[in-house]
Symmetry: C2
Subunit: 680 residues, 2 copies
């Protein structure tokens, strides 16, 4: 029995389904079942509710749509194609052409297996690793609320938008989703709507195997408004659910939609066989019969694109035009505010953003780099209105609070502040930061360095998406002291340096902290990581040693001998002053030593070969690296004759000043290693 | 006004509090507030409910107590001391002596800043990183239920125990706790009780800043029984709550206890100032007055230890004696079952455990290492009854299902199976595995390699606690193909090799898979990681090339030239066959080449210097490493002249066979690199 396609609604919905089936079949890999199930859910949202102008896909006032269940990527590619979404480059080209869909999951097609934000205009965020998309959507909703409450003025309701995220069982089972939902409920983000595809199917079989939560009750406990839609094919119920979201003004909304995976497929609907593999030609033919679909493969009836143009397109254009009129009036009435907001959205740093960058006096007692870091962060952030962020309940320790007038706090009843309180939820914090960054901001987040492990999946996505999120990790070594091995990072520097497209800074004194923040702010295509100490670091005498501006090149000669050195010492962070002491001892002993400060290995590697050779001449085999972590990421500079002074295993619980000698990280050990390396 | 200490209960509770205050003050660091608040909660549990014999702290039938909020470590040290818990070494020494407490947080004191399972008998698991303890407790509860349902027989109710975990806001905010609670609720683990310290205080201030969940409703949604205790000092309410847990037979229980942090401290109670810093001498004196405490620092009235001996001690001894009687009867009636259970608890592998270890025929088409891995896992697990585990909803892909008769599934209504279904909850899966391992089992867990990031904090704890958890990660490189960069690990091998005390195996063909599992099973003091392919790998001709038993040494010469080689090729996993091809080409070109297979860098590093030198002679500077990941962990073997063939950045979405040439990972590139390295 076939379902009639008499209505344009059904025709358009089935166009999404058939494009998805055809593309997965052509690729001979992919996930057809969820696009087939959710086509009416997404169709209803896009055609009747989403404020989105396909001709201006980067319009700042647009509603956001996130496909958190990224494996269902053909759903969004189909939507973008049918809705006629244009490329953001102003070329008037479609963001997703039918040829791109035909090459789904092939080399050089923008239609990758999972949607990639940097490949396709209209893909608001890269999704695939489960739980990330919904958590990103919380960041986007916070950005929308921040703009609405910080920049709107009475009579000028310009800013603010809604954020929709479509998610699966898998998304909701991930802990990061629960963290993100808890924050969203706490903050009463009423502009946020998650749509949960309740299909009862996972890869191992029925959700009964491992998932029997009462999702509605759980989300009510998290402070959400919950609406149920009993049938994913009932457009009336779907419209009512979206209306209910829009009418809810004090909490986020979860719409639970009962769906049938691979709906319409005669033998594969409602089976996990339809989750992650093509249906096969025979099943596709039979399914198209059920749909009453008579077109050839990859054929899109023009009625369907016309229909999207008349619904989404016309509504979006009207909304955008209206927004632009409102913004013009706003700009006239509030030129300073408008200028600031436009500056943020430009994605560029304001002129003179670094005018107040502190320099620090020589100070043998010194200052913890978390403390100088907090000072530098404040000096920059007060000139850079796009900077906002916070900590996973460790602000008094990480020193990342913005303390200047007007910074404010982002609270449940006031969304206009730049200081965010993420609670003890590192993973959601980082994923939210990705969402903030995708919304045009320069977010920073902070926790103890050892807990970078908790947010690693989101950090990897910052790197893949080339997002300049700033991660501030303090308490960066055995210098943590008494809290012991679970709180003492040892492998984390190497483990993070292994990730492509990340810049990790571990400044050696307060002036390197200042310069590291400067260099990090200038990186716009990758995340940066500040690795800072709990304990005091001497502020070096920069008359005697080279200027900290060398930080901009990642590594630089801090102190040198005359002629060719017999040994090169390399150090970062809290070990830099140990290396200075060792350098002085070696020099006093008549050894020709050079000292290289290497606050950012990745920046150093970006320098030209000549500079790198000038800092680390390949003719010098005597080398020592000093870092209170494991050796792995230093081997590249050590060669077979180099020596390493650092950690070999986990730390211990004791006062920090006892731990460094206990683990053999002292100036004397560096001297010893240097002599051994020279001897070869 | 002072609180009377007339009752022995109050005296004992105050002994916990004062020991905690004194120790933190002496250390001048630590967390006094929570032990002070929760002393009555823990006291009530230990004195009236916990089945635990202080003289036999490793008794298999004991109830487990987990302090998930590990920063409150003085609570458990005080309890262990007051309860007279003995060391497990049979020495009749106290596990925690008063002198240990006096040296709290000092070098060589077992009383570390956070409780470490390997330092102190009675600390069931290392805690500190938030959320881990509660998730571990789910694994312990699963172990208890497994024993109860698999080994008990009608009329012989021997096995099974209860598991209690004390946790904080911070624990419950972490995503891993939500994942673990969801599994526990799903599986109806009625032997599990979490006690939530609802103190309304976090480091940044009041929980209102970031945490306003209705925790009770959320947990009801997760399928838990919830009991509220309105006052942590009301022992009657606490006893009733524990009774309510014990009476609940179809779900886990959450007891929500409203407490006052640093209860009794005149100026610091109910402030976040009391969370993570000593109270100061003056406040301690004033607090002791409130408690009516007249003893000197660190003095423990003998009435309190007597009281624990008469409550916990007597009850525990009776329970253990009764258990031993029951077990003797069981052993007589069911000798095979008893033998199997004792074998598990011995922590040793059964004799002939590896009798059925498969060997694989030469096969140029070959087999994916995930598939041979599944076969090997089954061959071992059927002889090793302590092996149980499963996947984060990817068993059909990771091939880790135990398929032999009697393996069974661990389901909501049947806890006797060895196949576990963790759902899409990687982090809880790994943390649960730690709990299973701490309960005497050899758990394995599996997911895609890229998602190892999601469980990294728990894996680090396996390494710190020296737990032989087996992590099976499949889909280990760009060989994943069409799923694209978010699903393609590139940095993960190096990032995991950076963690101390972990053995990472990446076998190059099916016979190395077999030998890798064998080697991993023999490691009992660290986690092992199997890194396996999605795609087929040729099974090498082991007549022509060296035997795969070399895997036991981590790295071995697979093929060699005569005399000293000009170049050494090193490879792992899917790149081993590329390296074989390159070796053959080089040899045909007259180049003297050696090929080293390096399935486990860490095992290789454990070999003596002579063996290592024999495999990688330091005189040979021509070296090439081949691995479809980043270079970092190979630099140690490459020196300045070595070359690397592998990944430089993230992957791409396309069929796997196109991606290897696209990223330059081919035999020809290896040949090219070898010649370049020889040229120097």
């Amino acid at each position: 029995m076939s379902v009639s396609t008499t209505s344009i609604e059904q025709l358009t919905i089935n166009a999404i389904r058939t494009l998805s089936m055809d593309a997965v079949q052509a690729a001979n890999s992919g996930h057809p079942g969820t696009p087939m199930a959710l086509a009416p859910v997404a169709y209803t949202l896009w055609s009747n509710h989403l404020n989105y102008d396909p001709n201006y896909p980067r319009w700042a006032g647009r509603d956001r749509f996130v496909l958190s269940c990224g494996h269902a990527s053909m759903l969004i590619y189909s939507l973008l194609h049918l809705a006629g979404v244009k490329k953001a480059d102003g070329s008037d080209e479609l963001s997703v052409k039918i040829d791109d869909i035909k090459k789904f999951r092939q080399l050089h097609s923008p239609c990758a297996g999972h949607p990639e934000s940097y490949e396709v205009t209209g893909v608001e965020t890269t999704t695939g690793p489960l739980g990330q998309g919904v958590a990103n959507s919380v960041g986007m909703a916070m950005a929308g609320e921040f703009e609405r409450t910080r920049y709107n003025r009475p009579g000028h309701e310009v800013f603010g938008y809604d954020v929709y995220a479509l998610c699966s069982d898998g998304d909701l089972m991930e802990g990061v989703a629960c963290e993100a939902a808890s924050i969203a409920g706490h903050l009463k983000l009423s502009n946020l709507c998650w749509i949960y595809d309740d299909n009862h199917i996972t890869i191992e079989g029925d959700t009964d195997l491992a998932f029997s939560e009462d999702v509605a009750t759980k989300f009510e406990g998290l402070g959400w408004h919950v609406v149920k839609v009993s049938d994913a094919n009932n457009l009336g119920l779907l419209n009512a659910a979206y209306d209910s979201f829009k009418a809810t003004e004090d909490k986020p909304t979860l719409i639970i939609v009962r769906s049938i995976i691979a709906w319409g497929a005669p033998t594969m609907a409602n089976t996990h066989g339809a989750h992650g593999a093509p249906l096969g030609e025979a099943e596709i033919t039979a399914t198209k019969e059920v749909y009453g679909w008579s077109y050839d493969k990859f054929v899109v009836p023009t009625e369907t694109t016309d229909h999207f143009a008349e619904t989404l397109g016309d509504r979006g254009e009207a909304a955008r035009t209206e927004w632009e009129k409102k913004f013009a009036a706003y700009e006239k009435a509030f030129p300073a505010e408008a200028k600031e907001w436009k500056q943020i959205m430009s994605g560029k740093l304001p002129t003179s953003w670094d005018a107040d960058l502190p320099t620090f006096e020589t100070n043998p007692k010194g200052v913890a780099s978390r403390a100088s870091g907090g000072q530098v962060l404040n000096a920059i952030a007060k000139s850079v209105p796009s900077m906002l962020g916070g900590s996973a309940d460790l602000e008094p320790s990480t020193k990342t609070g913005l303390k200047f007038p007007g910074a404010g706090s982002f609270l449940a009843d006031d969304h206009s502040g730049r200081n965010m309180h993420f609670g003890i939820r590192e993973h959601a914090m980082a994923s939210i930061a990705n969402g903030l960054c995708l919304s045009g901001y320069r977010p920073f987040v902070s926790t103890f360095f050892v807990f970078s492990d908790y947010l690693r999946p989101a950090l990897r996505l910052s790197a893949i998406m080339q997002l300049p999120v700033m991660y501030i990790f303090t308490h960066d070594s055995i210098g943590v002291g008494e809290d012991g091995p679970t709180h003492q990072p040892v492998e984390h520097l190497s483990a993070l340096r292994a990730i492509p497209n990340v810049a990790i800074f571990r400044p050696g004194d307060a002036n390197e902290v200042s310069q590291s923040y400067k260099a990090a702010m200038e990186l716009t295509d990758r995340p940066s990581i500040m690795v800072l100490t709990r304990q005091n670091l001497p502020t070096l005498d920069r008359e005697k040693y080279a200027c900290a501006t060398g930080t901009a090149r990642g590594g630089y000669v801090l102190a040198d001998c005359s002629g060719t050195p017999e040994v090169i010492l390399m150090a970062t962070g809290s070990e830099l002053s140990l290396a200075v002491e060792a350098y002085e001892k070696l020099t006093a002993d008549g050894v020709k030593a050079r000292l290289v400060s290497m606050p950012c290995v990745e920046l150093f590697e970006l320098q030209d070969a000549e500079y790198k050779e000038s800092v680390l001449p390949s003719s010098v085999a005597g080398r020592v690296a000093v870092e209170a972590g494991v050796q792995q990421s230093w081997d590249r500079y050590l060669g077979f004759r180099g020596k390493f002074v650092g950690m070999k295993g986990f730390g211990a619980s004791a006062p920090a000043e006892e731990l460094f000698p206990y683990f053999g990280i002292t100036a004397d050990k560096v001297v010893e290693a240097a002599k051994a390396s020279i001897a070869g």
